[in-house]
Structures are given as structure tokens and as C-alpha cells.
């Protein structure tokens, strides 16, 4: 048994799986970095991803075009997060509860929409998911090629976005505004920056990424839509962001860690090592708690985290 684990084949497929399985956590996490840096805790990512999944799947199925599916996922994810933005920024409601509410609403809405569009069918409708794209030359490298360069295009895009996110946050005026608004909204306000405007943008960007991630689940990772397709990845993404202290590259490592846990669990199960399958499934969640323990000690949260802003409050 152990011998089948330590083959090259196993390790290669494990690492490739890690990269692939990390993607649906990495994508929403990147989006949430914008949101949380701006001071908003959006627990509604889970619901947003589900909305993205149903939108992406429906669009891809009806038009036969996967890219339209992705765009639909992004668009509706963004639209959905508009509700969160309204509740957190304009209504200054409690962000934790708002997020939970949107998850419930999102799950229900997604299932409802799916039902309306597809009705009740004996065989669930499917799409042909994004195919793996072998990057020329690089994918032919033994081992390394198989691990890194034989994924579908959305996976590649996600890792590119890690760098893009870092760049936007650290090197552009917009990124500066986001950081300021999360750190010291009054200061930003006194410089004429619209705190509400920036926060809305940050939440919407988060929704965009979450919607994309949801679409990824239904049209790239799997090939259909079910109610539980997201199964907690949204929450893990939020945890990853906190664990990564809101930095894109660290978030990538965090996502890879979780991808590894999932990939390991799947491959062990496939090998017939049914060694407490469910206990393995617990692993990502236990790791999140462990991560929180180490991260929270430093407590480098944006100072205005989850605190609604009002110009007139002292």
C-alpha cells in the first residue's frame, strides 16, 4: 500500500491535483483580498460562488460557449455582491450576519433559478468543461510539465491574477485608496476619497472573482451544477485571506495548502485506502483553525475591519 503512494506517478498526480484543486479557493481569495483590505468582511462569498456557478453553467449550456459562461458567472457574482455592498456600506449593517444571510439567500436563489431554467430532469444536464491546455514545449518536460503545464486555461489565469492583484494593490493609486479606506477611512475621506465608493468597488471586485470561481466549479472543475457544488470553499477562501494576512502571494500558498489536503484525500481514497475518508475531509478545516491561531497573534488586520464608516461619528 505504502509502496503505491511513493511512486512518481502518484506524486505527480498529487501535485498536479494540488494546483488544480487550489484554484477554486485561490480565485475567491484574491477577490476577497480587495474586499477585506478595504475593511469589509464578506462571509457571503459562499452564496456568491453558488450564484456564479449556476449563472456560468446556465449560460455555457444555453449558448454552447464556455467563455460566455465564465463571463456570466463573473457578472452575476458581481451583481449579487452588490447586495452585500449595500448592506455593509450604505446600511451599515452587521457584516457577519449580512454575509450569512446572503449565503442562505444565494443558495436558495441559485437552486430556484436552476429549477426554473432546467426544470426537473432525470439526467442532470451537463456541459463539456474547459479542456486541459497543454502549454507547448513546457508541457512536454517530464514530471514538471505534467505538474504545472497541463491544466485548463482558467487555472493558468488564476495564478496570473496573483501577480496582478499584488501589482494593483501595491503599485496603483486605486490600490492605495483601498488600503487607506480599510486602515483609516477618516483620513481617506479628508483627502476627498469616497470611502463608500471605494468600498463598493472592493466588494464588487470580490463578487466578480467569486462569481468566476463559482463558474469555474461548474464548467471547468466539474461539468454540472448541484446545490452543494461550492461546499465550504467560500468560507475557506475567507479564512485563507486572513491567514495570509491579506497578501496575494501568501494567499496563493494558503490555497495550495488546502488544494494539497483535498488532492491527498482524493488520491488516497482512489487508491482504496479508505482510511477514514471523512477524517481526511476534515483536514482543510482543521488547518484553517491552526492557521488562524498563528495568524491572529500578529493581528495585522486593517484597523477599520468590519467597522462601518460615518463621517459624522467621532
Amino acid at each position: 500500500m505504502l509502496s503505491s503512494i511513493f511512486t512518481v506517478g502518484f506524486l505527480v498526480s498529487l501535485l498536479a491535483g494540488t494546483i488544480r484543486l487550489a484554484t477554486p479557493i485561490l480565485l475567491p481569495a484574491l477577490g476577497q483580498i480587495y474586499t477585506q483590505r478595504a475593511g469589509i468582511l464578506n462571509l457571503g462569498v459562499e452564496g456568491t460562488m453558488t450564484i456564479g456557478a449556476v449563472a456560468g453553467f446556465s449560460a455555457a449550456y444555453k449558448t454552447g460557449n464556455l467563455w460566455l459562461g465564465l463571463l456570466a458567472g463573473m457578472f452575476f457574482g458581481m451583481l449579487w455582491s452588490l447586495i452585500m455592498a449595500w448592506l455593509s456600506v450604505t446600511m451599515r449593517a452587521n457584516q457577519v450576519i449580512a454575509g450569512i444571510a446572503l449565503n442562505i439567500l444565494g443558495a436558495g436563489t441559485a437552486v430556484y433559478v436552476y429549477r426554473i431554467i432546467f426544470g426537473v430532469q432525470s439526467l442532470p444536464p451537463q456541459v463539456t468543461p474547459f479542456a486541459a491546455v497543454n502549454i507547448p514545449l513546457l508541457s512536454k518536460i517530464p514530471i514538471i510539465g505534467q505538474i504545472f503545464f497541463q491544466h485548463n486555461i482558467l487555472v493558468y489565469l488564476s495564478y496570473v491574477m496573483v501577480f496582478v492583484t499584488w501589482f494593483i494593490l501595491e503599485k496603483t493609486t486605486f490600490g492605495l485608496k483601498i488600503r487607506a479606506v480599510g486602515e483609516h477611512p477618516r483620513a481617506a475621506d479628508s483627502k476627498g476619497i469616497s470611502v463608500a465608493g471605494v468600498r463598493y468597488a472592493a466588494v464588487l471586485i470580490g463578487g466578480l472573482y467569486a462569481g468566476a470561481a463559482g463558474a469555474f466549479m461548474s464548467i471547468a472543475y466539474m461539468n454540472l451544477f448541484t446545490e452543494s457544488i461550492v461546499s465550504g470553499r467560500g468560507f475557506i477562501a475567507v479564512s485563507v485571506v486572513i491567514f495570509a494576512r491579506f497578501m496575494p502571494v501568501r494567499a496563493m500558498w494558503g490555497a495550495l495548502l488546502f488544494g494539497f489536503a483535498s488532492a491527498l484525500q482524493m488520491r488516497l481514497q482512489a487508491l482504496g485506502i479508505d482510511m477514514a475518508n471523512q477524517l481526511m475531509l476534515m483536514l482543510p478545516y482543521v488547518m484553517t483553525i491552526a492557521a488562524l491561531i498563528f495568524a491572529s497573534k500578529k493581528a495585522e488586520f486593517p484597523s477599520a475591519y468590519t467597522i462601518p464608516y460615518s463621517r459624522l461619528e467621532r
Partner: protein, 352 residues
């Protein structure tokens, strides 16, 4: 006139309006799905309240929901965002059923024992998150949430594995509890069981809770660490106690499910209760009376909704959507009720 009474009436009216609004949206959704809203809502209404049997179903559902919502209200009053009700219920249920399946004790010992175990289980599961918060400043939202998943998978592990019923046909469930341990039913036709007595006792206790020394302390730490410490309250200890009680009530809900309804452990034991309990706690304004009323409403919605799904073509997701809408409206209004925009309005008038 007593402003407390005015406030309560205001809260109640707002809650009712919220529900009506959500139901209205639900009606539109029903119509879009190609069904008749009138028929849908009638079925729903009858399914919930149409007969004694139906009402007893509603009451059966109310028990865990009310217990959990009361538990949440204790944590929320202290600004501790415990969203791990499901996990606490699950662990409570697991601990509670162990003696029932594996020990052959007389009923009169077993029932109290299992009840205590459920409380301990739920309390510890929530207390763990409290300890993490006190010791490591770990955000309790995430920890209680993660503990939910861990509990769920642990339950799955048990019922697919060591605790699986050998005569159960491979289904993920444990052995059934011997009949002696089942909580007595009030009548053969209805499922309402002895657990309701426990629930009623807890509800009555909660009516006095906020006026006890502990209740005031918990309320105070919700006002702010600084003022609580200044007033002499040991914040960390109170946080722990609040979370322990919160988890205990959810564990108790688990005892109810196992000894009163399901009589065994099975996958998905806690399904959906936790989120709804959160809504109920908030909709009820974090006070016992409001919670009982809100709990009744949601239980009716769930029971009626299930009937509606069975007897019509209306998708069950409409019920989920109505729930989600209610909470969205509530928190939009809650922001106003708890004074945030109100404080804003007061200061904004300064500019007038």
C-alpha cells in the same frame, strides 16, 4: 408611556412587515415558476396549521430551533458571533447517544445522563472556539464555522464507520435506540414528544436570564471590552461562560433530535437548523419572547413548505429564498433598530 413597551411594539410591527414583504416576493417567485401563488400559500398554510397533527409537526420543529436560537441570542448579545450551532448540536447528539446505544442503563438514569452529556458536548465544542479566541485572538466566526464542518465530517465518519448499524442496509446511520429510551409521545398520532418539556423549561429560564447577574454581565461585555473591564467584569471568563451556555443549548437541541425524533444518529442530523436559528435569534430581537414567536413562524414555514413541495409543483427553494429575504430585510432594519443610522440621523440633523 413606557418607552420599553413602545419599543417592543415597534419591533413587532417591523418584524411582521418584514415577513409580509418576504412572502410577497415569494408569491411572485411562485408565479414565475408557473404555479398559482394562492394555491401554493394555501397548501403551505394548511400544511403547517391545518390539523392537530400538522401543528404538532410545527411544534416538533420548534423545539430544536428555539433552543438553538436562544443559545445564539446569548452569544450575540455579547457580540460573540457563534455560527457553529450545527456543529454544537451534532457533537451534543453524538455524546448523548453513546450511552443509549452502548450501555444498558435503566431509563430513569439514562435519559438525564444523556441529556447532561449533550449539554457538555455542545458546550465544549463552543467553548473550544471561546478558548481559541481568548488565548489566540482567533476570530470566532471562522473557528465556529470550521468546527461545524469538522463536526459534520466526524459524524459522517462515525455513521459510515464504527457506529454504522450492521443491520441498517449500509445506510449511514447508527443503531436505533431501544424503545425504552424514546422520549414519550403525547399521543399516538402526533410526533410531539417529551422533549418539549425540556424546551419549555429552558424558555421559562430564559425569560429571567437577562435579569440575572450573569445575564447582565454578558450584556455588558457586548457593550464593549473597555466599559466591561472598567465595571469590574472579567471579560475573558464571561466570554467563555457565554459561549459555553450558547453551545450547551445547541447540544441540548441535539439530544432532542436523537431521543425525541430520529432515535438514531444519521448523516445530516443538524441540516439547516443552524442558519435558521441565527435568523430566528435576530428576527426575535435577541429576546426570548420574540424568539419563540419567530421560531413558530419559521417552523410553520418549513413544515408547510415541505407539504407544499410534496403536494404542488412549487420548488422548495422558494422557501429558502423567503427565509433569506427575511433575514436581509431584518438586518437592513436591524441596523436602524440597533441605532446605527439613528445615531447618524441625529448628527446629520446637526447639519440641517
Amino acid at each position: 408611556m413606557n418607552s420599553k413597551i413602545i419599543n417592543s411594539i415597534k419591533q413587532f410591527v417591523i418584524a411582521v412587515l418584514t415577513i409580509i414583504l418576504a412572502l410577497a416576493v415569494g408569491a411572485i417567485l411562485v408565479w414565475i415558476s408557473g404555479n398559482d401563488p394562492a394555491e401554493a400559500y394555501t397548501t403551505l398554510f394548511r400544511g403547517a396549521l391545518g390539523s392537530k397533527a400538522r401543528i404538532s409537526e410545527v411544534l416538533v420543529k420548534m423545539i430544536p430551533l428555539t433552543l438553538m436560537a436562544l443559545g445564539m441570542s446569548i452569544a450575540y448579545k455579547a457580540q460573540l458571533w457563534n455560527i457553529g450551532a450545527n456543529g454544537q448540536l451534532t457533537i451534543g447528539a453524538i455524546l448523548a447517544i453513546l450511552p443509549g446505544i452502548y450501555l444498558g442503563l435503566p431509563t430513569v438514569i439514562l435519559l438525564p445522563l444523556s441529556l447532561i452529556l449533550s449539554i457538555v458536548g455542545g458546550a465544549l465544542w463552543c467553548g473550544l472556539a471561546a478558548w481559541l479566541k481568548n488565548r489566540f485572538n482567533a476570530n470566532e466566526v471562522i473557528t465556529t464555522l470550521m468546527l461545524n464542518y469538522i463536526a459534520t465530517y466526524f459524524l459522517a465518519f462515525l455513521v459510515y464507520g464504527p457506529m454504522m448499524d450492521p443491520d441498517g442496509g449500509g445506510f449511514p446511520q447508527s443503531k436505533v435506540l431501544p424503545e425504552a429510551y424514546h422520549l414519550p409521545l403525547f399521543s399516538a398520532q402526533m410526533r410531539i414528544h417529551g422533549g418539549i418539556v425540556v424546551a419549555i423549561i429552558v424558555i421559562i429560564m430564559m425569560f429571567f436570564f437577562w435579569r440575572t447577574k450573569l445575564g447582565v454581565k454578558i450584556d455588558l461585555i457586548g457593550q464593549g471590552d473597555k466599559i466591561a473591564t472598567y465595571a469590574g467584569v472579567n471579560v475573558k471568563k464571561t466570554v467563555m461562560v457565554a459561549m459555553l451556555i450558547s453551545g450547551a443549548l445547541c447540544g441540548l437541541a441535539g439530544w432532542n433530535e436523537v431521543y425525541g425524533v430520529q432515535y438514531r444518529l444519521l448523516e445530516g442530523l443538524s441540516s439547516g437548523y443552524g442558519d435558521i436559528a441565527t435568523i430566528i435569534a435576530l428576527l426575535g430581537g435577541l429576546n426570548p419572547l420574540g424568539i419563540v414567536i419567530a421560531s413558530f413562524f419559521f417552523s410553520a414555514l418549513l413544515v408547510g413548505g415541505a407539504t407544499m413541495q410534496r403536494m404542488t409543483e412549487v420548488p422548495y427553494s422558494v422557501v429558502d429564498i423567503i427565509q433569506g429575504l427575511v433575514i436581509v430585510f431584518v438586518i437592513a432594519r436591524t441596523a436602524i433598530h440597533f441605532g446605527w443610522p439613528q445615531k447618524l440621523l441625529r448628527k446629520e440633523k446637526k447639519d440641517a
